[in-house]
């Protein structure tokens, strides 16, 4: 399974470093956070220095129906020709969707990307809604526009759904039955699951959400559709086991998990604390927690090169390198060509995490709320639910 950098504000040298160390396979750029000309320069440099790297631009069109909101921060998005505020009613018209897609493809193709990600809106509540109809229409139109134009760049049609939409099983199943039978077959999907807030862990670490996220990957892959999972962070290997070809994560919490709230920045606040992604815990610890624990529960340390950065604490810019390194390793350990083997690997990883957390508890060391083991029940439940509904025995 491939791992991509989810690029946002504060790019610096991170992507180049990740590529040079072989930690990531490419990058997904965000128009909001880079000037058009800067983005083109950066993509050109990446393509020149790392010709095997995959490079995409997420058009972030899902902000278009919120673009009139007074609190929104669109950054550099309005520099792009295809972007403006739209009302849902406008986007219900297939012709308008087609114009947006054509303009997006025209501009993005000139940026030197290795694949196209098409625009789409966010399905913010239900898969049986007006928004879902618009989203399906965008998928259909994107495939048609792409097929009509030919060209060498593979298409990944965006599908952006809120986590609530993954909680209604009947609607979800009807939706995936539909999108696997679109008139014009899709070759790839760029899939984002949105929570109410990027740091709302319970939004993402929820049995039904994770199980259906995995089922989406499976149903699409069974039908020959390659799935890139945006903002999938530590969930990536589970999605890889279910058939996804790639996951992505970045350096801020809002690049690890997606929320439309990313475009409505809250004022103030302090910089997030540096964290360490522990493969054994399937979760991050604060760097001081890692230091305190490693003597008592040595298995929480990955034993990888970037562990050395945590003596005592890495530069903020280097934190993501440790994330990518740990995730790359987790992907290669858990994801298998054989789905049953992969599922078994994931179950073992969750069990191993439980044991590690039990050792931490035995050592009597308290953890920060987001370092705790709340995610494990959801992961375990999701694996079982996924296996049952996919009839994997």
């Amino acid at each position: 399974m491939k791992l991509y950098a989810q690029v946002g504000f504060g790019l610096g040298d991170k992507v180049n470093q990740g590529l040079s160390e072989g930690l990531i396979d490419g990058a997904i750029f965000s128009p909001k956070d880079l000037q058009l000309s800067t983005m083109m320069d950066r993509i050109t440099a990446v393509r020149r220095d790392y010709p095997a790297a995959d490079v995409f631009i997420d058009p972030q069109f899902y902000t278009s129906i919120h673009a009139g909101s007074p609190n929104i921060s669109l950054g550099k998005l309005p520099e792009w020709d295809f972007f403006r505020e739209y009302r849902k009613g406008e986007l219900e018209v297939a012709r308008n969707a087609r114009v947006v897609i054509e303009r997006c493809f025209d501009q993005v193709a000139q940026m030197g990307v290795t694949g196209l990600i098409s625009p789409n809106i966010l399905v913010s509540q239900s898969l049986d809604s007006r928004e879902a109809v618009i989203a399906k229409n965008f998928l259909r139109e994107a495939a048609e526009v792409h097929a009509a134009r030919g060209g060498n760049l593979p298409l990944y049609a965006s599908l952006v759904v809120c986590r609530e939409a993954l909680q209604d099983r009947a609607e979800f199943e009807e939706f995936i039955n539909d999108i696997t039978m679109l008139d014009q077959a899709l070759s790839g999907i760029y899939l984002i699951v949105a929570g109410r807030a990027s740091d709302a862990r319970s939004d993402f670490f929820h049995t039904d959400v994770l199980a259906n996220w995995m089922l989406l990957n499976l149903s699409l892959s069974v039908n020959g559709i390659r799935v890139i999972n945006g903002y999938s962070d530590v969930i990536s290997p589970f999605l890889g086991v279910a058939g996804g070809i790639a996951g992505a994560t970045g350096w801020w919490s809002n690049l690890r998990m997606f929320s439309i709230g990313r475009f409505f920045p809250a004022g103030g606040g302090r910089q997030p604390r540096i964290r360490y992604l522990s493969k054994a815990l399937l979760n991050r610890l604060l760097s001081n927690e890692k230091q305190a624990l490693e003597g008592f529960v040595p298995e929480i340390v990955n034993g990888l090169a970037h562990d050395a950065d945590y003596s005592p604490e890495p530069e903020r810019a280097d934190e993501v390198l440790q994330t990518w390194e740990a995730l790359r390793d987790l992907n290669s350990e858990l994801v298998s060509e054989d789905m049953m083997t992969g599922l078994g690997n994931c179950r073992q990883a969750v069990e191993r995490a439980r044991q590690a957390y039990a050792s931490i508890a035995a050592a009597g060391l308290p953890l920060d709320a987001s370092s705790r083991d709340d995610h494990l029940d959801a992961m375990e439940g999701a694996l079982e639910q996924f296996a049952t509904r996919a009839e994997l025995g």
Partner: protein
């Protein structure tokens, strides 16, 4: 069919057919082998329920005409063809029937093969699978779902140009158009061969060719293993639908470890309850099946 007409009476209303021998019957239909214009044909006699109501009569007649028209349009050699008796209404006693004929496809149905414990090779299975997929491709291209693919409706011919032929479009369903069967609330199909999505009361809104891919998978599974995974002699018949909805068949390889794992997995994949988890592209399936021959 209940209250089947006397075969002598049938012969009287179809004078061009001789040597009539009943070879099958369903809810509203009797099929005879007969000699017509010097060749053997399958003569079909279909009762048209009228319930004393002209509108119902016209509706049922219309459906049958569409089925026959559909057959006449199909070019696939893997679908049964119409023969020389053009459809016409006949009255036997007080009942209205339509009579027409189809080619008599010589051979042995998969069911007949199973009865004599024939164990198909990987080549047999791939060949039958390819013919069924190609027949389904033509139907799907016309927006039609067969809905009754089962071992009884697949004739293995031994003829290289058409090794297997799909019979009986009697309950075919037009997606997104005029239904070829009545929206009666009754489940069309044969109990052990109903696709899980058809158990959804709203299935007519969403049905597509993946229901046929499921029954192709089931037919091949049963052909290979000799077992219908949803038939349970120790349980009452009415629990069959529950099993169809909930029971995952044992992987085919557990019945036939001698077959290739790829073929077994492909057939297992077609049997998934959720249509989205079945590969939907018939052309891709044909390519995969070709690779397994």
């Amino acid at each position: 069919m209940r209250d089947k007409p006397d075969i002598g009476a049938v012969g009287c209303v179809i004078p061009e057919a001789s040597n009539l021998v009943e070879i099958g019957s369903g809810g509203y239909k009797v099929v005879y082998r007969a000699t017509v214009a010097g060749e053997e044909q399958a003569v079909k006699l279909v009762r048209i329920p009228t319930d004393g109501d002209g509108e119902i009569k016209e509706e049922n007649l219309g459906r049958l005409r569409r089925e026959i028209a559909l057959l006449s349009e199909c070019e696939s050699p893997f679908l049964v063809k119409l023969a020389s008796i053009e459809p016409r209404e006949v009255v036997i006693g007080s009942d209205l029937f339509v009579v027409y004929s189809e080619e008599r496809v010589p051979g042995e149905t998969i069911r007949e093969r199973m009865r004599r414990k024939y164990e198909p090779s990987i080549g047999d299975l791939a060949e039958a699978g390819l013919c069924l997929l190609r027949a389904t491709a033509e139907l799907a291209g016309k927006g039609v779902v067969h809905r009754d693919i089962k071992p009884d409706n697949v004739m293995i011919t031994g003829v290289p140009e058409r090794p297997a032929v799909l019979l009986d479009l009697g309950i075919a369903f037009q997606t997104g158009g005029t239904p070829l069967t009545r929206d009666s609330g009754q489940l069309p199909g044969t109990l052990h061969y109903i696709a899980p999505e058809m158990l959804d009361p709203k299935f007519r809104q969403n049905l597509d060719h993946r229901a046929d891919l499921y029954t192709i998978g089931l037919t091949l599974y049963e052909y290979a293993s000799g077992v219908n995974p949803f038939r349970d002699p120790n349980e009452p018949g009415y629990t069959t639908l529950y099993r169809i909805k909930t029971k995952t068949p044992a992987p085919l390889v557990t019945h036939r470890p001698d077959l290739s794992i790829e073929l077994c997995r492909l057939i297992d994949q077609l049997l998934k309850k959720l249509p989205a988890l079945r590969p939907s592209s018939i052309s891709s399936l044909i390519a995969r099946m070709e690779g397994l021959k």
